[in-house]
């Protein structure tokens, strides 16, 4: 199997080709080792840290910014967003507060204070 990717680790943006041979993935096109690590990870199990918002129930026109504590599997993003859209928070909230214990394999954490 073969995948074409753009390395996003630094501005240079090397065009990577990641290939599988007998279960072993290797990257080419990377100008530095960081690109190989990224390329193989991105080709085998891409993950993303998702930053998003939940509504604050007891405040008018106020959104609480949140993030996944760990990167989650990329293909689970739609599922995560469905969960998030059913969630709301109650003020006051401090940054760092856990809003959801388990959402697609990560905790959801507040990234700001709402008084």
């Amino acid at each position: 199997m073969k995948k074409e990717l753009t390395c996003i680790i630094c501005p240079r943006g090397c065009a990577l080709t990641v290939t599988e041979n007998d279960g072993v993935w290797t990257a080419t096109g990377n100008a530095c080792p960081r690109g190989a690590t990224y390329g193989v990870a991105e080709a085998t199990h891409p993950t993303r840290t998702i930053t998003t918002l939940v509504r604050v129930k007891n405040r008018v026109d106020t959104m609480l910014s949140v993030k996944t504590e760990n990167p989650i599997a990329k293909e689970r993003i739609p599922e995560l967003m469905r969960l998030i859209h059913q969630t709301s928070a109650l003020a006051p909230v401090k940054a760092g507060k856990v809003i959801l214990e388990d959402a697609c394999g990560s905790r959801i954490i507040a990234t700001r204070d709402v008084e």
Binding site: L5, I8, R12, G13, I50, D61, M63, S65, T111
Partner: protein, 415 residues
């Protein structure tokens, strides 16, 4: 009238970092004025992550990065006045501000400009068509969505592929809207690679290069836009025009440093950057007025805003403490292929000097050569360079000797 040693205008990332640096350099009487309710500036609406990797060694969201600096400000007891709008600054450093407390006059010994930038609006873009609701600048939409929870539309076209446009493409998609297209008039995107991958490719949002919005349709609400490819002169080619139905158009077409106050204070502006012309200490043409962050030059990364603000903060403090360096200054000049070089003038000191610059278009392998007449002061090779990435070059300590009269940065393409 009251007096403060240093007045910082703007409480965003630049203002906060400048105030902290000034304090740490030995000036306790620093005050930050900001027109918003809370400090943090534009970071408050930048809920995505990617901030702080260079500066703080961890990846933070915008609000978290702002909170880090707000805590540093608070820890030092630096005064912050929110909902306070500066209306004028005089060349002798008298700052006038209005707030619910009335009009205040503050005599400063140094002023740091940190007002940030604003978005280029539709009026500046000359798009023809009607004037329906549903046309927003990307940053305005970002504020509505991220801070107030108001999704501005359901079917969206974005003009401009700068980072705010890309980030908003992802945001709107995650919130349930359909982003039909991102159009970029240039043959390349000015946004970070990471954003192209994680904001567009992840969600299968098409990016059309060398393409613009040539007409806006709709009476009450936007009903659609005509997009068309452009020729070398950026004029739409009618034969390529096609209609895309949408209820929202977001404009992400560049940022302009907000320098009305600076101009009125007599600060000389560099037409290339849209910000003040400064020396390496970020002092403007008006002695005692410093500038940093997006009001000085539009940055790609907030980390570099903080770095620049620290330079300005330390220099302003040195002035107040009467320890500022003095010496002869020489001008800098961008050679061909360079959009600008900052600082625009350099004071000859023993210290190394960092130059910041942008290229005019994407380049392959190249070398930057910093020259004074025929003498080479510094060189730096790069595998690639693009207008979206600010470059930094260092003139080593001791290179600025008596003979140096003008510094020119040249770009040499390499095979």
């Amino acid at each position: 009238m009251i007096a403060h040693d240093i007045v910082v205008v703007g409480g965003g990332p630049a203002g906060m970092a400048a105030a902290v640096a000034a304090y740490d350099r030995g000036v306790n009487d620093v005050v930050i004025l900001d027109r918003e309710e809370t400090m943090g500036g534009i970071l408050r609406q930048c809920v995505h992550n990617g901030f702080g990797l260079h500066k703080l060694g961890r990846e933070l969201t915008g609000p978290e990065y702002a909170a880090h600096y707000a805590a540093e400000v608070k820890k030092r007891g630096i005064r912050t006045l929110s909902e306070t709008m500066v209306t004028s600054i005089t060349p002798d450093l008298l700052v006038t501000a209005t707030s619910t407390r009335g009009i205040q006059k503050i005599q400063a010994r140094a002023v740091i400009l940190a007002m940030g930038c604003r978005e280029r609006a539709r009026g500046a873009l000359n798009i023809c068509g009607t004037r329906p609701a549903g046309v927003y600048s990307a940053g305005t939409a970002q504020k509505l969505v991220n801070c107030e929870g108001y999704l501005v539309g359901k079917r969206v076209v974005i003009l401009g592929s700068g980072d705010i446009g890309l980030i908003m493409a992802r945001r709107m998609t995650l919130e349930g809207a359909k982003v039909a297209a991102v159009c970029e008039i240039l043959p390349y995107s000015g946004g970070l690679k990471r954003n192209i991958v994680q904001c567009l490719e992840d969600y299968h949002i098409p990016l059309y290069l060398s393409t613009t919005v040539s007409e806006i349709h709709g009476n009450e609400r936007l009903e659609g836009v005509t997009i068309a490819q452009v020729d070398e002169n950026r004029r739409p080619k009618p034969e390529t025009a096609r209609f895309i139905p949408c209820d929202t158009l977001l404009l992400s077409c560049g940022l302009i440093p907000e320098n009305e106050l600076s101009r009125a204070a007599g600060v000389a502006i560099d037409r290339r950057t849209g910000g003040a012309a400064v020396d390496q200490f970020r002092q403007t043409s008006v002695p005692g007025i410093y500038a940093c962050g997006n009001v000085l030059q539009v940055h790609d990364l907030v980390d570099y805003v903080s770095d620049e603000a620290e330079i300005a903060g330390r220099a302003a403090a040195a002035r107040v403490l009467e320890e500022a360096p003095t010496g002869e200054t020489v001008e800098t000049e961008p050679g061909s292929g360079l959009r600008y070089v900052l600082p625009q003038r350099v004071m000859k000191t023993e210290e190394p000097v960092d130059l910041f610059l942008r290229v005019t278009r994407p380049f392959g392998k190249l070398k930057f050569v910093v020259k004074a007449g025929e003498r080479v002061l510094a060189t730096a090779s790069r595998p690639v360079a693009s207008p979206g990435e600010m470059e930094r070059l260092r003139i080593p300590a001791g290179a600025l000797t008596d003979g140096v009269e003008k510094i020119v940065v040249e770009l040499e393409e390499e095979a």
